[in-house]
Structures are given as C-alpha cells and as structure tokens.
C-alpha cells in the first residue's frame, strides 16, 4: 500500500472503518489524539517490519500467534515508556494504549501485507496506515477539543466572551457525531474509487 492509499484512498479509519473504539475514546483532546496516533504508527511500522523480516521462517500454522506476539511486544514497549516518561498522558489514555494490540489495523496489515512482502515495502505500508489513522484521529481530536472546550492543546482559542463551549462534544455523543461527519466527508471527497478500478 502506498502512502497516498493509506492516508487517503483507503484510509483505515474513514474508509475501512477500523480502529473506531480508540478513535472515539481518546479524541476528547488533541494532545491525547496525537500521542495515540504516534503509538499506532510506532506499533504498525515495528510489527510490519519484524513480521516481514521473519516471514520466511514463520511456520504457517502459528503465523497469527507469532504476529500477535510481535505486536504485543511493541505495544508494551510504547506503554512502558509512556508510563515512565509521560505519566500524565498515560493516565489520560488509560487502557487504550494496551488495546492497540487488539486494533484491527495493526493485525490486519501484518497478516494481509507484511507476511507476503519485503521489509521496506512493509515499513511504508505500516507508515501509510498509521498516518491515515493518526490523521483521522487528529482531525476528530481538534474538532472535539475546539468545540467542546474552546481550547487547543489546553490554550484557550475561542474566547469565553463570545463562545460557549459545547460540552456534548467532549462526551461520547460528540465523538460519534464527529466521526460520522469525518467518514462522510472523506467518502464524498474521495469519490467512488471501486468503479474506476473495475474498468
């Protein structure tokens, strides 16, 4: 998968509709959205790389367990560093960093791409999907924090005098609405791709 595919044409969040749970849970603030996006890029690239490097040695029968082991290792690595050096963010993100192990995007790319392709292409694929996910998360996080609290990165942008923060945006319904709009806009702007490919 090329970078353009991962970020736009087949965006994992908006087009493939994967990784929705974390996209709703951690995007109440832009900062946590970006950290979560970075986590997924790290895990996706790392796991894709190692699954690809080991693809000729991994027995077919246990390939999925091996993939999960590699993914879990990267996730725990990131989680440990977060707990040690960025404790406040770790508390904010809660269980969602650990849940990256169950994120369909990571496992999906490892099984569908990294297992059959050389390491360099796998790195690009991991990066592409990670950036697509992170980009989607950043947009949702920006909208929710801005409209929900009037702030970006904790700094007030929309002054209290003329903007009353819409509390609904930082709660669950706000997440669903924003995600829905993002998916709709992505699909509308991208246009129907499948028909062109079938010609």
């Amino acid at each position: 998968m090329t970078l353009k595919d991962g970020v736009w044409t087949v965006n994992p969040l908006a087009i493939q509709i994967l990784g929705i749970c974390s996209a709703l849970a951690v995007t109440s603030r832009l900062e946590s959205s970006l950290v979560m996006g970075a986590a997924l890029i790290f895990v996706c690239v790392g796991s894709n790389l190692f699954v690809s490097l080991l693809r000729k040695y991994t027995p077919h029968r246990i390939r999925m367990i091996a993939e999960v082991a590699i993914i879990a290792t990267f996730v725990i690595l990131f989680d440990q560093f977060l707990k040690a050096f960025y404790w406040d963010m770790s508390k904010q993100l809660g269980p969602y960093v650990g849940l990256i192990i169950t994120n369909c995007i990571v496992m999906g790319r490892a099984e569908a791409f990294a297992l059959q392709n050389p390491p360099l292409l796998s790195i690009v694929d991991g990066l592409a999907n990670g950036l697509g996910y992170a980009g989607g998360l950043a947009i949702i996080g920006l909208v929710r924090e801005l409209l929900g609290t009037g702030k970006i990165f904790g700094h007030t942008v929309l002054l209290e005098q003329w903007y009353t923060p819409n509390q609904l945006m930082i709660l669950a319904p706000g997440a669903f609405f924003t995600l829905g709009v993002v998916i709709a806009v992505f699909n509308a702007l991208r246009g129907p791709q499948d028909e062109e490919e079938n010609k």
Partner: protein, 205 residues
C-alpha cells in the same frame, strides 16, 4: 515430526526473545515509574491534608511542598503524615493516614486526613481504585469525598467508625445508589484504619 519440532522451536525462541526484551525495558523504566507513583502518593496526601498546591505544579515542586510541610512518622506499624507549619512544629494542623484494602473489583487505597483534634475529618482522597465506572467508581468523585469533610470518626456513643449509608449521625455519609458492595467494602476499610488509629492513640495516652 520435523515440521512440528521446528514450529515448537520457533515459538519458544520468539516467546523467549520477546519476554527478554520486555523484561529489560521494564527494569529500565522501573525507577521512573516508582518516582511517578511516589508523586501520585504525595499529591494524594497533599490534597487530603488540604495543603495548598496548584494543578500546574511540577513533580519537583510537589515533592518540595511535601518535604517542607509534611513529616512522616511511624506509629506502631503504620506511617502517619503530620502537617505542621515549619515554625510551629509542636501543634500540628492535621494528620493523615493511608488506608488500603479490597474493593469490589480491585484494591482501594487512599489517604484519610484528620484535623488537629484527631476526631474531625479534614479530607479523603483515593490514590487507587478500580470500582465500576459510574457506580462504585463515583467514590472518587468530589461530591462523595467532600461529604466526609467535617464528619467525625466516632459516632454519638464515641464508638470509632464511619457509617456509609446508615443512620444519619456525626460520622455518617450518604452511600451511592447501585454501589452497595463498594460502599460496604469502603466502610470496612475505613473502619479498620480508624479503629487502629484510635487504639494506638489510647495506648499513647
């Protein structure tokens, strides 16, 4: 047979390598995580004792405030935290003690702070609880904790203990609807630490 042997061997090697790597990372990050846990604890104690600090204070600043205003002493086999202004050490303003015990889903830990009279509650904070979010988890909410401020740790008959959801009284607070078990367990934990505190005070006198 040879295929199975290779499969088992591969799984063993991969598992071992992953485990070794993660063990190494865990050891490396252990001191930093321990420091973070200490800062969390200090924050809990400062909040319970009502010592002024702001949310923007850095970890170093919090430790500074703690070292300046709080004295840790051993009493029996428990540690108590005494809040005394540096120029008036003889008459402490408040005392805090840690409580810990089993909740419904996991451990409940926190700090109970008493005023100088050692009877009236000054503050209650939780440093750790894993109760049901929205139900038992509400024990961490400020409305629940604020109830305790001003209550006494002894009832009208001077018996030590806290009552959560029982008869109204100087030592009673409201329970949380839908969180009966959590409240019962919390009451048991607090009664335990209060009982011990009162007992040790009588021994001192």
């Amino acid at each position: 047979m040879k295929g199975s042997l290779y499969t088992i061997g591969y799984a063993g090697v991969l598992g071992t390598l992953c485990a070794l790597l993660l063990t190494g990372v865990a050891s490396f990050t252990a001191p930093y995580k321990a420091n973070n846990a200490r800062v969390e604890e200090v924050l809990s104690i400062l909040t319970a004792l009502g010592i002024p600090h702001t949310p923007d204070d850095s970890a170093a600043r919090l430790l500074e405030i703690f070292d300046a205003s709080v004295r840790e002493t051993q009493r029996g086999d428990s540690t108590i935290y005494i809040y005394a202004s540096p120029d008036d050490e003889e008459s402490p303003q408040a005392v805090a003690m840690r409580f810990a015990g089993p909740g419904l889903w996991g451990p409940i830990e926190g700090f109970l702070a008493l005023e100088a009279d050692r009877r009236t509650i000054r503050g209650l904070t939780f440093s750790r609880q894993e109760e049901t979010p929205g139900l038992g988890g509400e024990i961490g909410a400020s409305w629940f904790r604020d109830q305790f401020v001003g209550k006494t740790i002894v009832d009208r008959a001077a018996e030590p203990g806290i009552s959560i959801g029982g008869e109204k009284g100087p030592n009673a607070v409201d329970a949380i609807t839908g969180a009966t078990m959590t409240c019962d367990k919390l009451e048991a934990i607090l009664d335990g630490v209060i009982g011990k505190f009162v007992e040790e005070r009588h021994e001192e006198q």
